[in-house]
Amino acid sequence: MSPPDLSVKVGELTFANPIMPASGTFSEDLSDVFDLDVLGAHVLKTIMHGKRAGNPTPRVCDLQGGMLNAIGIPSKGIDDFRDRMLPYWSAYKAPLVVSISAHSMDEFARLAAEVSLPGVAAIEANISCPNIEADGNAFAMRPDTTAEVMRRLRAETDLPLWAKLTPNTGEPVAVAMAAEAEGADAIVTANTALGMSIDVRTRQPRLGNVMGGMSGPAVKPIALRMTYQCAHACRVPVIGCGGIATLDDVLEFLIAGAAAVQVGTATFRSPTVMARLIAELSDWMQEQGVTSLGEIIGSVQIPGGEAA
């Protein structure tokens, strides 16, 4: 039997396998641990236009089944991306996905144009970060602000454009459909969930920023639910992200309708996890006689019919 085909299509892009890192949990530093070219794609930490120091420490804290982070997107800015990061990542075969964000529509649009360079395969718009023009609410909290920012970004780039949603919205399907209507080529479900933790001994918040994004296995059901909802509502592909750490987690998201998955916090616990998941997925397909992931993606069986 020929080896199974792990490749997946996300819009016009084809990836050698469905495993890629989640933005913010990946950098050239991981190349110390395994050959990063085994990954389906490379997704970089969010770039903002200017230099930013990031949040006060502590920037992370431990939770049951996960963690909180409030790193604050320290960024070396667009010049560092163009002059240093892009040449580095272009040496790899795996397609490069550049995550961008901004606190205003204008800055976001300008950045989309500036990162649309040869060597960039797609742009992931991190629209889950606070928009200072909207009282700090993330663009992706509401369909109208999502539509507006995606329209602005679409006008500035011909690259495949992904919209990374937030689980903090009460209307993820409307947000996803707004992104799709304004030209998003894929939906990523989802970013971290806003949370908080207090040290009862000192009565101080355990993050320097008071609140932060929750990630890890504990948020997986929420991200899986959003993936399922969006995959059913949208025509464009959905990329699952949230708490994925095991082969069963990968399969769950694919069955729910994800065309590919992003692995984030799990890499902090086990830096080799993505390479291991790719090998395990290949072995599993061989054992199960699955020749293509098309047989798995969206194959969820809802007893009594569809429910979305």
Binding site: D29, F34, D35, D37, A53, T57, V60, P74, R269, R276
Partner: protein
Amino acid sequence: MTLIPSILSVPPSPGVTARCAEARAIVLSNMPVNGEYRLLTLDAPAEVLDCAPGQFFQLLCPVPEGEHPFLRRPMSIYGYDAHAGQLQFLYKIAGAGTRGLATLRAGDTLNVLGPLGQGFTMPDAWQNLMLVARGVGLATLAPLARMAQQQGRSLTAICSARSPELAMSVDLFRSYGAEVIVVHDEDGSSEVPALEALIEARIAAGRVDAFYTCGSRRLLTMLQGLGQKHGIPGEIAMEQQMACGLGMCQACVRPFREGNEVVHRRVCREGPVFSISEAIA
């Protein structure tokens, strides 16, 4: 002694020399050293044993009953021996992670990631070394003492503790040929003015080319003052809360002086060892 295969042997990216690995180690022993500290000795594979003094590991600690440590815990290396295939950590039970470590018994496995970070340097001009540390900070400096002996440097180790019997690693430092001076809180010898007088006397005798320290804010401030006054360089191993330990997450930054600027550096990647003059207490 059996070498344990790493969890996943994957080659690093082309052009990268493997610096660290995620591997499974086996517990040889895990014993109390005194009222406060425990010594964990592991049988570890060769690929994680190319260590340098000052480097650290990220340990995936066992889950103690009723607690849920999720992230790895950074732990400085207390001892490493590539020939014997052994790795040692000296720790104090302080939270869920170290409470989990304390549950390990001989024969148990522990997932380790390392060695990580930049270790201490020992330029040729630094012939007479002075090490000043307190509590578990002394554990971090233990491999440095061995390196000093191997390189034929003279070493004075000032070991600070709450009481004389809690002073860590005194015998170990002596075994590496160091002159050991124990200072403690009970007689006030560990207080900054007393320590400063002690160190000033050594400097006056021409016995200090460089300082090494670890952790303590109070000791850092004191050594920065002495270093500036007498033009003595040195290095410090620093701590910060971490998530990944590899440099990806940027959680573990601290501020450092760089010329007239204050910049953030990652303790896990650019550190944990930094120049004393650039560190900010």
